[in-house]
Symmetry: C2
Subunit: 332 residues, 2 copies
């Protein structure tokens, strides 16, 4: 498969010259033009649409930065971003940043050198002044960066409150929270949503809040400790499904009957929540929709940089499965 570099080499000109010949713009002398055209013919070089767009200074490629590729939420989000990008004729690359700001900056630099057309960032470590001067459109997804950066997010605080209200409505009297990392905005907002619903209850104690840090392992440990110290707990809201699955597992291993003795609700609406026994009730984010909208807005900005676009916020939806009771109005 010959590349533009092979053409340039054979014709003994620069890649930029090959590009000028192919796009018929800029001055190229007749002799050089002929050499390039012969090289193209000889190598049977046929740039596809993507390659052709490169000549025009557009790479037709966008990037998505995610903090943790091992959390199945992000592959699901990536799926939506990719489908939508492809639909508009864009390729998509995924960069995993580990919430590591140095890595984010290294990726930004490297990709911008490669004239990527736009970037979607899921980040809680990036600083605004690190991206202020970047001359391609940037959209924040899932986590806000600041009010100047257009974002597509969900209403985490309200979604979390809804989860806790549902536990109350179905009869839970002592509701605990397995929280995400202290420095991640989505986790902070979900904790706030939990507090909105419980902090005025006479039974409430901050000892009911444990940090699982969005990981399977830490959530398991946190739940084991919580339930051993507080067997009176009859409802747990986990700040994501990955931790919700761990809560189910830890509670079952301690002999809790779910949902008769203990109700569990997660947050995210991942496919994962369907394969556990019992299946996990969850606050389902419109994962596909937010991924899709982020790409659509990004491409609008790429193709028309004057276009005014606005941040969008979506609602989450209660998805009742087997880990909580049906509403108990009848019993009470």
């Amino acid at each position: 498969m010959p590349t533009i570099k092979d053409v340039a080499k054979l014709a003994e000109v620069s890649v930029a010259t090959v590009s000028r010949v192919m796009n018929n713009n800029g001055y190229v002398n007749q002799n050089t033009r002929q050499r390039v055209e012969e090289a193209i013919k000889q190598l049977n070089y046929r740039p596809n649409d993507v390659a052709r767009s490169l000549f025009k200074g557009k790479s037709k490629m966008i990037a998505l930065f995610v903090p943790d590729i091992m959390n199945p939420f992000f592959p699901q989000l990536a799926r939506a971003v990719e489908d939508t990008a492809n639909k508009y004729g864009y390729l998509f690359v995924l960069c995993n940043t580990d919430n590591d700001n140095e890595k984010e900056i290294a990726y930004l630099n490297a990709l911008l050198q490669k004239t990527i057309d736009g970037i979607i960032l899921v980040s809680n470590t990036i600083q605004v002044d690190q991206i202020n001067d970047i001359n391609v459109p940037i959209i924040a997804l899932d986590r806000k960066i600041n009010s100047n950066i257009i974002s597509v997010t969900v209403n985490n605080r309200e979604g979390a409150s809804q989860a806790v209200r549902y536990l109350k409505e179905t009869g839970c009297k002592r509701i605990a929270h397995i929280a995400g990392p202290k420095d991640v905005s989505s986790a902070k907002q979900r904790l706030e949503g939990y507090l909105d619903e419980v902090q005025s209850e006479e039974w409430f104690t901050t000892d009911y809040i444990r940090y699982g840090n969005y990981t399977v392992k830490e959530a398991y440990q946190a739940t084991e400790e919580l339930l051993s110290q507080h067997p009176e707990i009859d409802g747990i809201f986990a700040a994501n499904d990955l931790m919700g699955v761990s809560v189910l597992k830890a509670a079952k291993n301690l002999g809790f009957d779910i949902p008769n003795q203990l109700s569990v609700i997660g947050y995210d609406g991942m496919e994962l929540s369907d394969i556990t026994s019992p299946t996990l009730t969850t606050m389902a984010q419109p994962i596909y929709d937010i991924g899709k909208r982020a790409v659509e807005i990004l491409i609008e900005k790429i193709e028309n940089s004057d276009k005014e676009v606005e941040s969008e916020q979506y609602q989450v939806q209660l998805s009742v499965k087997e880990s909580t009771h049906e509403r108990r109005e009848v019993d009470e």
Copy 2:
């Protein structure tokens, strides 16, 4: 954050000229050189190591192509590739190909235009003549492409046989297989490994082979049908863990007692197999090791193209969890 393009624009020269100035190679006239140096100073442009490597024709970036980012096996593999790439100072981008050859070719073209340094391919759709002429190193991971392309794989056939032998040793008398897609080499080899162990048994029938196509949904359906038609089955070997989890779920929903009535074994050794109840016995692939080795070999080739490297094949390891019996020698 100024880029090389900003420098080129301010100095009114091409990016290639800026690069020549910074690397002090190729002819640049004195006046131009001065303009570039002033622009660099004025913009406070400081290319980091990654950017600097770009000037030298090395991008210090490698790509991994995977067929299905939603299968947790691939994020786990990507994690290994990324860690190792980072260790050697390389960034890493992930491309999801959906087993779609057109998409693979579009990515190859786009990335090569961007002077990526090397590519790791997990693919069963790419044709050898599509990559023969590519002038950066390519390593096949997890799935062989052909004997000319260096590969890092596991011994799927032997691993599958081992799984079935374990089911036999623990007392299973009627062993079925939930297979992966017919056109994926790893799935074909695992089916062959199953057949090696069962096809001479008098109880064997091809009706014990059902296709779950490496997906949760199809594996669930296949298991439901299989067990409804053949309640005599007492062991199932699923060709990957994703399907193994579905087998557990379908069998439990049909009232099968696992492992007393039915033993289930998966293949892959994903973290997923730890969160189910019961946990899933599996043939654990050295996922991290194969990802790591693929990168190490790739970087050896990138940094020393004359280096002779060889394909490597790894063994899988039985990991006994709760979905199978302990060996029953004592009972028999």
